[in-house]
Symmetry: D2
Subunit: 144 residues, 4 copies
């Protein structure tokens, strides 16, 4: 896998995201991560909506967030997402939330690529792997 | 329709529901209303899950909230719900949010009883109307 | 008051906003309305953050939504907001949610302009009224 | 520290918590964890509201969730919470979400005990540590 595609999107914090500690409530970072993942897939040319239309899904197996500095109301955040690894049916996406370039929070989600009907692991299509830049590159081939 | 069944449920406010004004964020009252509706239907002996299993749904057409006094973190609220009217396929449910009996917010939601496949209006079943106490009572019959 | 300023912002629907009816959950429209209000004030040159810095607040007194057609996951919505009226300390903001120009939902919120310390009604500053275009215009003056 | 106090609370899943995959949206488990923490502290006789009244706070430094089986609409869940460790100003709380005793998700949050004004680490009061059962027990004393 070559250098992973990294997508950055802007996000303006509404009152809805804050709590009485005057900061973005900790659970809402997972929604920010989702927004990052959605746009990462769109930037790769294979949206999550298309993945679902193909009968697949990427349910979350694990989620982790490390909080450094709180985001506050009306902040214009940057959400950064990239594929950390994609092995078999297990996809790990890394995410950061920044403000003016300064890291506020970081973490990851781990997903299983499954058949959305049976929820059983399903081999990702070549088209999906290619779009995400996760196909074994020629450089990975054994030397000849 | 006789005196409508009125259901009251307790609800403890988490940090998640608050915003930086130190009160419950205004949109979250609609979620409280939903909790009230769910328990109203359960108390009537016909849960929303059963309604869906029967192939029906009650999408929201209108929602209104009037805010009197803010709810705050860790408050133990009372959510009160009752059927205001059920005419044809149009169901109106009233709701109040109270704390120590004192009214904090009130409002209503209007729903259409529809077929969940086609989303077209669908006549409610007699079982559902009976459960909700919304069948025409004998007293409504013309005098003889 | 002259023709009110109308602001339109884009909004991409995440999974987080949906419910199991495959549509945006009804309470989330109030958060969309808030996003619209925030950007309306920013476009007027007087953000809500500035209003708070001045010691004021605009708590919600009433909220109403009428739902026409559901928004769904990954839709790119347009949120439209404008000032419906501003009389004394009572501000009414109208809002629409559209997709490809088609109206999905509409409604309004009513706010009181208050002192954020005492929560008592407080006369809006001339600067705020001017920014919102809500100062009595010369055309409103009696003919001479 | 003796065997930690373990608190279990019931939670009924509203539509609001679900997403279009027909399961509870993954970020909402962190709100369930918060509900568990709140009741854990209440059961210990020292609520988070009291902690705040004392001028302290417990902002989240880290959060982790591992998802096993999805929760769905109208499920009556059990949220279980207990103190995993409390060293210096660093408090780790473990949490599980169960349905009919079956584990659906588990994880933890790590908090810093801080002064809510300065947000700097602040030594927890003896009263708080005692309430949480986190004072060094006599058995920890050196043998004589």
């Amino acid at each position: 896998m070559s250098e992973p595609k990294r997508v950055t999107i802007p996000y303006r914090v509404p009152y809805a995201d804050t709590d009485q500690m005057h900061v973005v409530y900790y659970a809402n970072y997972l929604t920010l991560f989702e927004r990052g993942r959605n746009e990462l897939m769109r930037a790769c040319g294979f949206t999550y909506r298309e993945l679902e239309a193909d009968g697949n899904a990427l349910p979350v197996l694990e989620a982790y967030v490390r909080y450094h500095t709180p985001a506050t109301y009306d902040d214009l955040l940057e959400i950064v997402a990239w594929i950390d690894s994609f092995k078999g049916v297990r996809l790990k996406i890394a995410c950061e939330v920044r403000r003016d370039g300064h890291l506020l929070a970081e973490g990851y989600t781990v997903h299983a690529h499954v058949d959305s009907k049976t929820l059983r692991p399903a081999r990702p299509s070549q088209a999906f792997l290619a779009a995400l830049g996760c196909l074994a590159a020629p450089a990975d081939a054994p030397p000849q």
